[in-house]
């Protein structure tokens, strides 16, 4: 494996991470680090463990019955799996956006954005209107929905729903943003808009994005990790991975010989 020499600016460091579903091991001894203000793209064929990997970064993996992991994940040098750490607080610091847009169907657009704040009881202490406006603007959705904040979030188009989910993730002010194939359910125009948004967001966050679209990875990321069968085959600067991959398998994948 190449390219793990970036640890010094790491926001999140992954050390010897392995993961299982029941008896079935799906991640094998992963080491990587996520840099602040960079976009890290995770690519690889279906079923290789991309989702499992990023779900280990905010302890979502453990919400699946029968799932377990080994190894360490450091957020600012603190192990998030230490027993004294509350997974709930970790998830607040490391936000997540999913493949399929999943706004809360029973809530309005406004309520969706502030759902995270309401849960933690912070809603009373802050100006919700301000936050909703800021987050929707950050998510490039404000102009389209500002007149119908009270309508249900499920009434939006797929791309708008995904941006709503991003706004919702931003509202709790995370430090790291994980995105699991956020564009795969979207049309080209919506994809374009989300990509622009990621470009904006990376000024403030460390972003990890899973994608099956190689072009997208090369367009938006600084770092790329290539997974195959649960192993991190290659991890390093995007430009280098896409031009001079260090591993034959990476090359095969990138040139479309499979997947």
């Amino acid at each position: 494996m190449k390219g793990t020499d970036v640890t010094e600016q790491a926001r999140v460091s992954i050390k010897n991470l392995s993961a299982w579903f029941g008896e079935h091991q799906v991640l094998f001894d992963i080491n990587a680090s996520i840099r602040d203000k960079w976009v890290t793209a995770i690519i690889g064929p279906s079923g290789c463990g991309k989702s499992t990997f990023i779900r280990c970064l905010n302890r979502m993996h453990e919400t699946v019955p029968g799932a377990r992991m080994k190894g360490r994940v450091l957020l600012d040098d603190e192990d998030i799996y230490k027993s004294s750490v509350d997974p709930v607080s970790i998830r607040r610091r490391i936000g997540m956006v999913f493949q399929k847009p999943n706004p809360f169907p029973t809530m309005s657009i406004f309520d969706n954005v502030v759902a995270g704040l309401r849960l933690s009881g912070q809603a009373r202490r802050v100006n919700l209107n301000e936050i909703v406006e800021r987050c929707l603007k950050q998510a490039a959705l404000w102009s389209q929905v500002k007149d119908r904040l009270k309508e249900p979030g499920a009434g939006l188009s797929g791309g708008q729903q995904q941006r709503l989910c991003i706004a919702r993730a931003l509202a709790v002010e995370p430090e790291v943003l994980l995105m699991d194939e956020p564009c795969s359910a979207l049309d080209p125009a919506a994809t374009q808009r989300i990509e622009d948004l990621i470009f904006e967001l990376k000024k403030n966050y460390a972003i990890v994005i899973v994608t099956h679209n190689m072009q997208q990875a090369s367009r938006i990321s600084e770092h790329t990790g290539f997974f195959l069968n649960g192993e991190l085959v290659e991890f390093g600067e995007t430009s280098q991975i896409f031009t001079t991959p260090g591993d034959k398998r990476t090359e095969d994948y990138i040139t479309g010989r499979f997947g």
Binding site: D86, V88, S89, R92, R93, S120, G121, Q122, V172, E173
Partner: protein
Amino acid sequence: MMDQAKGQSRARKIKARLFYLACLSAIIISLGALAVLLTDMFIRGFGSLSLSFLTSFPSRFPAKAGIKSAIFGTIWMMSLTALFCIPIGISTAIFLEEYTGNSRLAAFIKINISNLAGVPSIVYGFLGLAVFVRALSFNRSVLSGSLTLALLVMPIVIVSSQEAIRVVPRALREASYALGGTRWQTIRRVVLPSSFPGIVTGVILALSRAIGETAPLIMIGALTFIAFVPDGPFSEFTALPIQIFNWVPRPQAGFHQVAAAGVLVLLGIIFFMNGIASIIRNRFERH
């Protein structure tokens, strides 16, 4: 900001804990009620449970009383009920899910079914009395009883079959259409086999409901001393819940034990039916 993000406040944690405890006590109460009921029935009824209890006719002496006629009556009645409600229920479900789409007719039938599901069982007793016992002159026969119960549990069969049919993935239907299957062939070969476990569950649920029903049978006049086994659909009959209801109000304490033993038998039958259902379910779901 870091402070807020520090995690859940104490209050949130306590609330979550209390909520968990509330849910836990709910389930404990539910199971506790079950335990109390079953234990009570066992203590009362187990002593009376014997082979001769199963093979004797009712008697005025608790020690001699048995449930032969009730068991046969229940078997007769359940068979006929199944015979009526399964084909009609499943057909209706197929019609609603596969043939009508969102037509007015479908909406009307659906409203009807959801209403019928909420109609008290005793009201079906009026129906059975007026239509089957009197208008059609089936008297208080097994046939009248099972027709009444079939109508009573029909909504359960329809709704659960509808649900089972609905969750068959569209991809499977498309596969069949793409192979040149017609609508009925697709239903027959693909949709019904896939929804079979769900349909069986619904049918068992419906029959378990029917088997314990008392009020509508009382309405059609089935509360009767019967010391023979039904010999056809037009024969008079008694059934387990009826026999239990017949015994419970008696002055002799012995009958209360016999009644409890009857309940144990009834529960045993329900258990058995549910067991069969789950075997069928597991068998098919593994595929």
